[in-house]
């Protein structure tokens, strides 16, 4: 018997649901399942844990495992050290640098961390600007960029904005009375922060810190560029590229990475559950901003200046590197040139075009999928529709390199219909990997846009005779346009700097997008200049995209607020 609700679901809705599900299965669920199966299957196809035994039996792998944990945890810790004081400063004090901090919050994100790594090497490395100066004047050097701690340094600088943004929002949502009640009962200063303010903003902090942990744990590009290969992601990469696609250890590492991503997200979800501490009520006032003492103001400005200097140093370094003729063993380049940009435009204009094409198509695919899923979930009674959201969002937990391994494994030997070309040998595979990995971002934007759209607007159109499809086209899409565009831009810019799936899926230099090009250039000392120039172009693309999405979001917020008021 068919449940009554199902009959109201039209054939078109079923078809749309089937298409989305088909896409997700073919390009996400099956490749990842393939990775799991390979990790748990013996040569004779029986279930086994022997590959995991082999993994933990090797000292090298055990070390890679502990190294990855160490780097991810320490990065989250140092990112917190950078972010927590900044968040508290902006929310709790009358501080003129607040706007500066907000800007500061976005700057690191517009540059892929592996690009920054090279620049940071030149500034903070053993023979970088800082250490050369320290050596000359004080006779000491700081081993900032050495070994794993170098990776921690680069990752913390890059990812601290996630904590800053989440914590700032959480702090802003605390009702001022929460603080006053504590003051009235005798709790003040650091005790007030420790007993009331921080616990209340903990959910925001945990959300940010777990995100940093996952991102760092899965990061491939940064350790590779820094020559730190004894971490899980680089080991998986090396296994697949050097030992081969049949080597089970690459799959074991993939499963471990997914496991830790899920565990970190589950842990943060557990902490967050039942703890919506945003106590601010309608009409209530937030935490009171207080004046900084003179010394406090000096310390705060010094801290902000220091963090700003450090977070801007990769940008500055890349910019300098891209115009440096020679830059080694000196605090600043010896001579300047624009030669590298000419080189990049001559040699690598294909890469720029590739990035635009792959990311553009992937982002387009994402918003089409995003709008469809959002519509199916929020506006139809398609059975089990929540699963579409669940599956699409699950791709957040899958590192790029794992998805790429899954693609290579699943589509091994499969050719594009009618030709001799391997699917995994075409750029389409790269584009699809981008689309799958960035789908959660686009989906969230589309869901939010549709949620804000009052259903009465659609009902009005339908009561005036518009069919379902025409209602979508004439009412919903125009009103959702801002959200859709924001989703497109987010997908686009994050895909433009993605390296970990790219690096495995690029099978010919002609297919390489900018991110891969930067990585290739950075491999050799002579390629650093052009690599940096390409990096500057990538940053420019991302920066313009970020700004555009910001503008679009601002503008549409006005539009939807207008609608809500009327509704």
């Amino acid at each position: 018997m068919i449940p009554t609700g199902w009959r109201q679901v039209g054939a078109g809705v079923w078809l749309a649901g089937a298409l989305v599900l088909g896409f997700l299965f073919l390009f996400f669920v099956l490749p990842v399942a393939q990775v799991f199966i390979t990790a748990f299957l013996d040569a004779d196809n029986s279930l086994t844990l022997s590959h995991f035994g082999a993994f933990f039996g090797q000292a090298l792998m055990r070390e890679a495992f502990t190294n990855s944990l160490y780097v991810a945890l320490m990065s989250a810790l140092w990112a917190s050290v950078l972010a927590v004081p900044l968040a508290v400063l902006t929310v709790r004090f009358r501080f003129r640098g607040a706007l500066l901090i907000q800007t500061l919050g976005v700057l690191p994100l517009i540059m892929p961390p592996f690009v920054g790594a090279v620049a940071l090497q030149l500034i903070f490395g053993r023979s970088g600007s800082l250490n050369l100066l320290l050596q000359e004047y004080f006779g000491i050097t700081l081993p900032i960029m050495e070994g794993l701690n170098g990776v921690v340094f680069v990752e913390a600088i890059h990812y601290f904005p996630f904590i800053l943004m989440n914590l700032t929002v959480a702090l802003r949502n605390i009702d001022g009375a929460m603080e006053e009640a504590a003051l009235n009962l005798g709790c003040r200063g650091w005790r007030l922060f420790g007993r009331v303010v921080f616990p209340l903003s903990l959910p925001g902090f945990v959300a940010g810190a777990s995100l940093v942990f996952v991102k760092v744990f899965d990061d491939l590009g940064t350790p590779l560029v820094m020559g730190q290969t004894n971490l899980l992601a680089p080991q998986a990469y090396l296994r697949i590229t050097q030992v081969g696609l049949e080597d089970p250890l690459g799959y074991v590492i993939s499963v471990i990475m997914i496991g830790f991503s899920i565990a970190a997200m589950a842990l943060s979800a557990r902490v967050l559950r039942g703890r919506d501490f945003s106590t601010l009520q309608k009409g209530g006032t937030g935490l009171q901003r207080r004046e900084l003492s003179w010394w406090g103001a000096v310390a705060a400005h010094a801290w902000v200046a220091l963090v700003l200097l450090v977070t801007l140093s990769p940008h500055l370094g890349v910019l300098l590197l891209s115009v440096a003729q020679v830059w080694s063993f000196s605090p600043l380049p010896d001579a300047y040139t624009l030669q590298h940009y000419t080189t990049v435009f001559q040699e690598s204009s294909g890469m720029i075009r590739n990035t635009l094409v792959y990311c553009g198509l992937a982002a387009l695919l994402d918003v089409v999928l995003g709008v469809t899923i959002a519509y199916l979930i929020l506006r139809t009674r398609l059975p089990a529709r929540q699963w579409l959201d669940g599956i699409a969002t699950a791709s957040l937990a899958v590192p790029g390199i794992v998805l790429a391994i899954g693609f290579l494994r699943l589509f091994k030997g499969v050719t594009v219909p009618g030709t001799e070309m391997l699917i995994t040998g075409t750029w389409v595979a790269i584009m699809l990997a981008y689309a799958v990995r960035r789908l959660p971002y686009a989906l969230r934007s589309c869901m939010a846009a549709l949620q804000q759209l009052h259903q009465s607007l659609e009902e009005a159109a339908q009561s005036l005779g518009a069919t379902r499809v025409r209602t979508i086209r004439r009412v919903m899409v125009p009103l959702m346009a801002g959200g859709i565009l924001a989703g497109f831009v987010t997908s686009f810019i994050t895909a433009a700097v993605e390296l970990s799936a790219t690096i495995l899926l690029v099978s010919a230099d002609s297919q390489a997008p900018m991110s891969y090009g930067i990585y290739l250039y950075m491999q050799s000392v002579s390629g650093r200049g052009p690599g940096a120039a390409l990096g500057v172009l990538a940053i420019a693309v991302v920066a313009v995209g970020t700004y555009l999405s910001h503008v679009v979001v601002e503008r549409t917020q006005g539009l939807t607020a207008h609608n809500l008021n009327k509704a």
């Binding site: 009702d175 929460m178 006053e180 009640a181 504590a182 003051l183 009235n184 005798g186 003040r188 209340l200």
Partner: protein
């Protein structure tokens, strides 16, 4: 416990150029349950927060038990505040919320357990220690907030709109509980409200505030019977005010609705009432009585009043319609007057008050 007084002398508070309080004088007696009543923006909440130590007054003196506490921080004042939204910390359970202030006072573990237990018992929530605030009803949250404040034994209790977040039936019950608790503890208590019924039913004495100034202080009965000015007259209870001239000076003739009577036919002049004519505009059935709104034809034809030196205000004769509200006692089956019906309206002049206009 020692009962203490609270005294405000000429207290002024301004934010920049906006004057929130303009010379407030109040004297709350030891052990009194005192209401601060006023419309929103009158400065009543600012005054409460000022006594709690969250706002700093820009002039004047604030004394508790004769001691000037102006310079003290909120945690140094012997004053406990219960917030309008209760401000229970969602990350702590009920027990830890109540124990919070004792932890700050470094109270011994065993002693603390006993005091928190006693406080929760006092508000009838002994079994709820392990619950989170979000798992409690509004009334229970209110009681936790009360226990949290009382457990540190303040000398003065401040309640900011204590009942405004509760639904109506609960409000009446909580009102009585609050009062019973205050009586038992004998704690000097100030509470802020915009609800005149709440203030009148509970307070020993009350102050009516408007525009940062205390308009009148007294028992609820004094304020109801002898309002000092038109604002108090309108804010405490319902009041009819008609513009008149009293011995040549402009005044309001103020009468409560139950001091006005309605008659159908022509009525002999008497010495008690001034009789006017009008039309019933609408009615509200209130149960014990029916409240009519009557549009008067005018204030002309008012001979009796003249004997008391009262004449309709000069401008009032120009034909502006005046309305009075009349409460007619209700008994089962009694016929109600319909809108449009002409009536004679008798004003009981002996009950009227003349207030400056």
């Amino acid at each position: 416990m020692k009962k203490v007084s609270v005294e405000c002398r000429d207290i002024g508070l301004s934010y920049g150029v906006t004057e929130v309080l303009r010379g407030v004088n109040l004297s709350v007696q030891p052990g009194e349950f005192f209401a601060l009543l006023g419309p929103s923006g009158s400065g009543k909440s600012s005054l409460l927060r000022l006594i709690a130590g969250f706002n700093r007054h820009t002039r004047g003196e604030l004394r508790v038990d004769g001691r000037d506490i102006t310079a003290l921080e909120t945690w140094q004042r012997p004053v406990g505040l219960v917030f309008q939204n209760y401000a229970l910390w969602p990350h702590l359970n009920v027990w830890d919320n109540v124990a919070f202030g004792l932890v700050e006072r470094r109270v011994q573990k065993s002693h603390m357990r006993q005091r928190v237990g006693a406080a929760l018992e006092m508000v009838g929530l002994s079994a709820y220690g392990q619950r989170r605030p979000s798992q409690l009803s509004g009334g229970q949250q209110q009681r936790v907030a009360l226990a949290r404040t009382l457990v540190v034994e303040p000398q003065v209790l401040l309640l900011d709109e204590p009942l405004s977040n509760l639904d109506k039936t609960l409000r009446v019950q909580m009102r009585q509980e609050l009062l019973a608790l205050q009586r038992r503890l004998g704690l000097t208590t100030l509470f802020v409200t915009h609800d005149q019924e709440e203030a009148m039913t509970t307070a020993d004495r009350m102050a009516v505030l408007d525009q940062g100034v205390v308009q009148q202080v007294g028992t609820p009965q004094q304020l109801y019977d002898q309002p000092a000015n038109a604002f108090v007259a309108h804010f405490v209870g319902t009041m009819n005010a008609l513009p008149v001239d009293h011995q040549g000076a402009p005044a309001w003739l103020c009468l409560r609705p139950h001091h006005v009577v309605l008659r159908d036919g022509p009525q002999a002049q008497d010495l008690e009432h001034a009789w006017l004519e009008g039309v019933v505009e609408d009615r509200e059935f209130l149960g014990a009585c029916t409240r009519y709104r009557v549009r008067l034809d005018g204030l002309a034809g008012w001979q009796v009043a003249a004997a008391r030196g009262i004449a309709p205000a000069a401008g009032a004769l120009a034909g502006n319609p005046f309305r009075v509200q009349v409460d007619e006692p209700h008994a089962a089956g009694r016929h109600q007057r319909d809108p449009g019906q002409r009536v004679r309206v008798g004003l009981a002049l002996s009950e009227a008050r003349l207030l400056p206009r």
